[in-house]
Symmetry: none
Subunit: 200 residues, 4 copies
């Protein structure tokens, strides 16, 4: 059985704490979640927490980074495989993933809100958000290109609306989550209908 090296073990602890923090922040919000909750839920002591993260804010920012990073990677992956056949299918899969995990959605909203509140968080957040936004703009541009459609508005606005609906749906989704994602699909449908076929 492969023994974990010290480094591997440290990484593993870190990841378990991050996962636990994601759950805790989603459930109770940044202020409402306690370091103790997070540590215990991950199966560690408070001490272990502070050996891995300098503060509660630090783990929050780390989480923010992990999440935004993975969102960026997801979009980038979609760009790579854009082709007329599987595009809508890929999109649908992505949207389902985005809205399927209720905790994920609530966490996203909490991240946004909290980043807006704390100056120290805002700094780190802004940069990440910019990168994600840029990536999304690029993706949308590629899609319109491929579909040979002319966007009905500046792509930045479309991307912003996309993000707004995503976050907004997360907030609005009550206990019965069944129609989360409908808003997004309605928006997509209309977007395509509203786009002018490009002259050749």
């Amino acid at each position: 059985m492969a023994r974990l090296s010290r480094e591997e073990s440290r990484v593993r602890t870190r990841e378990m704490l991050l996962a636990s923090a994601a759950r805790a922040f989603a459930r109770a919000g940044y202020s409402g979640a306690s370091v103790d909750d997070i540590a215990e839920d991950a199966g560690f002591s408070k001490g272990a927490f502070y050996s891995n993260f300098a503060s509660k804010e630090a783990i929050f920012l780390a989480l923010l980074e992990v999440r935004k990073q993975s969102e960026i990677m997801a979009v980038r992956a979609m760009i790579a495989e854009v082709d007329s056949d599987k595009l809508m299918e890929t999109l649908t899969t992505w949207l389902d993933a985005l809205h399927g995990d209720r905790d994920f959605a609530l966490l996203a909203a909490e991240l946004e809100l909290q980043a807006r509140r704390s100056e120290s968080l805002a700094a780190g957040y802004e940069a990440l958000q910019k990168r994600f936004s840029d990536e999304l703009v690029a993706f949308i541009a590629v899609v319109f290109e491929r579909l040979e459609l002319t966007p009905p508005a500046p792509i930045k606005d479309i991307a912003d609306t996309f993000i707004a609906i995503s976050n907004g749906s997360a907030l609005a989704a009550g206990h019965q989550n069944q129609h989360a994602g409908r808003s997004m699909r309605l928006f997509l449908d209309m977007l395509i209908k509203a786009s002018a076929t490009r002259a050749r």
Copy 2:
């Protein structure tokens, strides 16, 4: 100088506390805002707070009610004055109001999030949200009627998307808020373009 009567004074205190609470919750979130903050910011002691509201949760719910109520009244007012000439203008005014007050928007988002977390809040919240949603659905139906257009999707979905964009934009709006509301207008434009003209 008109001296305030006992009752007037009480009402005034209550309102100042509500205003202060709105600021505090917007700034720091539900958990992050302290009763002490709220009371002091309103110029009162903690004791005064508790002789006006039974608990922190109570003032939060009271705030929720006030806000939702005024949103409902706004929509209702719009229904009353719907006519083809001033409709878009009225809508624009409303949207600007909705997004013009940054604190209001953040508060709205916080209200949604918190209501989703606390069972005791959720109870009170759900009812209010239902009433607002119903009102919005009625409004949208009237508008389509007046414009003699057929909606491209169930009106409930349209209303939900409307709300999602509103909340989502509030979250996404960074320090520079200038283009908040663009998403909403984009959505509205596309909505009209996507609607079929009704057969007469």
Copy 3:
């Protein structure tokens, strides 16, 4: 219908507050009972309370006085009607009264305890307790005289034991109060058996 004079009305309010305080102190103890509880339970406002009593401590002391006074009067009444025929019957009635009211008993214990804690209460209490003790000693002396028995110990000790059992039973009486008073009767029986018939 006779209107209450201002003075009568004041006395009535005072008495209702005293009765309410007795219930509250018995139920929750001195610290545990709040002025608001007491006032509201009596059907008045806090202001009315403070118009009648200078402080929480003041009403407690007033209560102490009323109770001790009535205990003294009860003993004095028994002395007056001591005669060989009805003596034991009278005693029994008194004891039943003492233990029949659970609240009364708990209040008595609380009074004792609290008087022992607060210096300001102790002053007023000590005097009252002395008067009651003296009265009880006189009563016991008369009874032994009448029964032509010689007490088996200094009468003061007998009186003290009497009081100790009374207070102790109140404390010990659990929810099932049926055998409160047994201790007292056991003590009385033994007391008589242990007394030497006086030589004539």
Copy 4:
């Protein structure tokens, strides 16, 4: 100098808090004593208190347990060494111990009262009290056996009276405590005089 291990240190803190709580509750009663008082008097912070006891009620109950336990052990010890020569001497020593510590006595009374008021305390209390009572009944039975006397009343009643006098004396004992314990001895004397010598 022996350094304290982690565990030893924890136990020591706990014990110091318990001792401090005993003083505080005796002095000010359950409601009157504050967690802050208790912690500071023991030389710790409030936080230390709460990492040793879950709540104020918890330390109260823990105290109750310690005290009742030691009372039980004391009675059990007496049963073990009952023999005609040293019995009365042992009893006397015990009674002196019971009444010698004024705080102990007041605490006992407070424990009884408070247990009667709080449902959550009552649960834990009742069990302990039952065990003590049973032990005392057993002890008294053994003593009568040894002395070859027939008790003049059900042993349970005798035990109850015993307890009542003990608690009652604690309450009645003023600042001058010199004659506490007299009641108890008077009761014992009479008890023996009132017992019938058993037929052989």
